[in-house]
Symmetry: C2
Subunit: 170 residues, 2 copies
């Protein structure tokens, strides 16, 4: 089955993201708004216990993280994905890289661009409409993230949380 590791931001930021996802993200009903730490990967249900142990150890070594976002961005032309750009910090990068290396011993082929998706699978026209109206908007949002989650995917494509890991608390 598929597993993934994500951060759920505060309710406030999730509600804001959902106000766009509702219209522009086909994954809207499958998972709450999130910042992906590790993309979907395959493991057995039995391996979940081991994955959780690994993640618990990693979480012990981190303090709660700052999550700052102030603008929308896009992966166009690679992908028509619009997202809230999350400011990279050395802690966030190091958490992401440690989780990826520990869980499957292979480095991702993509650079880590911390983000919260608000639209995807958009046609070129839709992308340029939506991004055109969002790209100039500025906002200030800052919060402290003190946990992340291991999730698994059900047959219908939706995600269930397996376990929460609190940063530096256990």
């Amino acid at each position: 089955m598929k597993f993934g590791v994500v951060i759920f931001p505060s309710k406030k930021l999730q509600d804001l993201a959902n106000s766009y996802r509702k219209r522009y993200d086909p994954h809207y009903a499958l998972i709450p708004p999130h910042l992906t730490i590790k993309n979907a990967f395959t493991a057995t249900e039995e391996e979940a216990t081991y994955l959780a142990t690994q993640l618990r150890e990693i979480a012990n070594n981190y303090s709660p993280l700052q999550l700052k976002t102030s603008k929308y961005s896009s992966f166009h032309p690679v992908n028509n994905v619009i997202y809230m750009k999350v400011e990279s910090t050395s802690d966030l990068e190091s958490l992401q890289s440690e989780v990826n290396e520990k869980l499957d011993h292979e480095k991702s082929e993509y650079a880590f661009v911390p983000h919260i998706t608000i639209g995807q699978n958009l046609s070129n026209d839709e992308h340029s409409d939506v991004y055109g109206s969002l790209r100039m908007s500025q906002f200030q949002h800052e919060e402290v993230v003190d946990r992340f989650h291991l999730l698994y995917q059900l047959e219908n494509g939706s995600w269930t949380v397996y376990e929460t890991f609190r940063l530096g608390k256990e």
Copy 2:
């Protein structure tokens, strides 16, 4: 905001429940299949930390629980809700009652009927069709549940996991 406490059963049981929920449960896209330990209640985002501390203490005192289900049942005529009936055990009952008392110091007005909803808000006709075909089916499912979750509700009605509590492990 609204919080709730639930158990997510194994992927296998969630997939089975979703095969019915997809057609018969309007909450299908809002939350994965679950066994409710504490119904939605109101608390502030700041109180979540305290709620989690309480739940962590409770979880420490329980061993993993048996979850057995072998038939479908219904709350009709009170509610047109069809569910997988989960066999009650003294541990499950005591966990449910402790969670409810600790989190809001008031007893629920309903008796606890452990269940996993697979259909709700059905018309009388739909209820009798669906339940008519399910009520005679027997199956055997047994698993061990070693965790439960505190969730909160977003503005769109969907639920995000705040924290996982492992039974007897911390």
